[in-house]
Amino acid sequence: MSYTPAELMACVAARELRDGEVVFVGIGLPNLACNLARATHAPDLVLIYESGAVGAVPERLPVSIGDPSLVTGSLMVCGMAEVFQSLLQNGRIEVGFLGGAQIDRWGNINTTVVGDYHHPQVRLPGSGGAAEIAIHARRTVVISRLNRRAFPERVDFITSPGHRMAGRTRRELGMPGAGPVKVVTDKAVLEPDPENGELVLSALYPGVTPDEVQAGIGWSLRRRDRLEAVARPSDQELHLLRDVLDPHQLYLKA
C-alpha cells in the first residue's frame, strides 16, 4: 500500500515506544504515534498529558491536550502541580515528545520567537511544558518535517535544551534526562552523535537519498557509518492510522 510521509513519521515515532513506558504526550502526530503503539506492540503504554490526565484512553482524536475525552475513562486526573512536580520533576516520565519551529545541530528547539526576542519577526507560542519536558523526561523524541528554515545551524532562541547549549553539555548543566534520542522527520531519522551530541543522519526512509535530507538541513550533516533501514508502514499500521485513529485526516493530510 502506498503511504504519505506523515504516516511513516507516525509509525517511526510509534516504534520508538516500548510497552509499559510512561509517555508525556503532545497533540497531533505524537498523539497518533502513542495511540498507534498502544494498538500494536505497546498495549500497556501509559499516556500522560500535561493537562493532568494520566492513563488516558481518548475515544476520539483529541484536538487539544485538555480535551474532555482525555479525562473520561482515564486512570487519574490530577492538578498541574502534581503533573510537573510529582510526575515530571520526580523522574517518572520515560518519554517526552517535542516539536518546534526550529531545531538546531545540537537538538536545541525553539518554540518562542523567530528573530530577536524583544523585536520578533514571528512570535511563536512559547514553551508551554516543553522546557521542563526537555530537561526532565528520561529521553525525548522530536518530530518535525525537514526544511532549511526548520533546521538551522543555530536556533534563534533555546526554548527546549538539546545536547549542547552555548557549548555546555547536559551533564555539565546537571540535567536529569538524556535529551533528544531521535529526531523523526519526513525523510529520515537523525540521532545525536554519542561523542559530542551533534545530530547526525542515522536512518533513511525508503527511496530517500542523503542529498535530499541535506537539502532540508542548515548545516553540513554528518552521517553514521552504517545507516539503519526504516521499514515502510505495515498494512496494519496504515489501517489503524487511516480507518481508526485519524479517519478525518486531521493530522495525516498528505
Binding site: G66, A81, F84, S127
Partner: protein
Amino acid sequence: MSLREAVAEHVRDGDTVVIEGFTHLICFAAGHEIIRQRRRDLTLCRLTPDLIYDQMIAAGCARKLVFSWAGNPGAGSLHAFRRAVEGKGGAPLELEEYSHFGMVGRLSAGAARLPFWPMRNYLGTDLPAANPRIATVECPYTGERLATVPALNPDVTIVHAQRADAQGNTQIWGLLGVQQEAAFASRRVIVVVEELVDEAVIRADPNRTLIPGLAVDAVVVEPWGAHPSYAQGYYDRDNAFYIGWEPISRDPAALEQYLATYVYGVADRTEYVARCGGLDRLRADQRVCAGVNYGF
C-alpha cells in the same frame, strides 16, 4: 450576584487578573464582561492566554501579559496577541514569560504565601535571559543551585466551576489545572458556576471541593459561561469555534466585528448564548460515576 455586579465590584483598572482553567472551565463570560465594562491597563495572567485573552488584548484591556503558552491549540495563532508583540498594530503589550511549570510554581508560591518557588528547571534555556525574574537559590543542604520563580498574587482571580453553594464552596471535576492555587493566591476571588447547588450537595461529597467558601468573595451563576471552552459533564469544547477563530483573529476588522456582535452587542451571557444559537449540540452525554460511602 450578577456577573456584571461581580466584575464591577472586584475587577478594577490596573489590576493583576487571573482567569484560569487549562482548556477546561475557561470563564469566557467573565472575560466578555470585563471587555464590556471597558477595564484598562490590566496585567493578564494565564498559563495559556487562549482566545479569551486574545479578545481582551484586541479590546484594549491589557497592558501586560504573563503567560507560558500563547497559541490556539491545533488551530493556529492568537493574532491580536501576535500583532501587539510583533509591532503590527494594536497597543504595545508588555510580556513576562515562563514555562507551564514556572507559572504553576508562581501560583503555588502565591497560594502558600511564600515569596518564591524552587524547581529544577531553565538551565540551558534562553528563558532566564528573556525574563530576569527567573532566578536561582542555593540549597542549604546540598549546595546545589535551583531555579526559582517569584510568587504570583493576583488582585483578582476568576474561577469557572461546575458547581458551588451560595457560600462559594466550589466543586470541580475533570481537569483541575491550577484553579485551586490561583484562588488561594488571589486577594479577591470570583467563582462562576454552571449550577448553584444546596450546601447539602457539597457536604455530601467533601473530597470534591476544590475551593472553600472562606476563600471566595463572589459567587455567580452563569450557565454556558465557559463556552467555547468546556465544562466536563455539562458541555463539550466548541472546537469549531476555536478553528473558526483563526481567520477572525487574523483580520482586525473581523475581530472588531466579532466583539461588536458577541460582546459589546449583548447585555449579558443569556443574550450571548441566544446569539450563538444551537449550543445544545455541545451538551454532554451522561457518563455518571458511582458515589462512595462517607459513613463511619
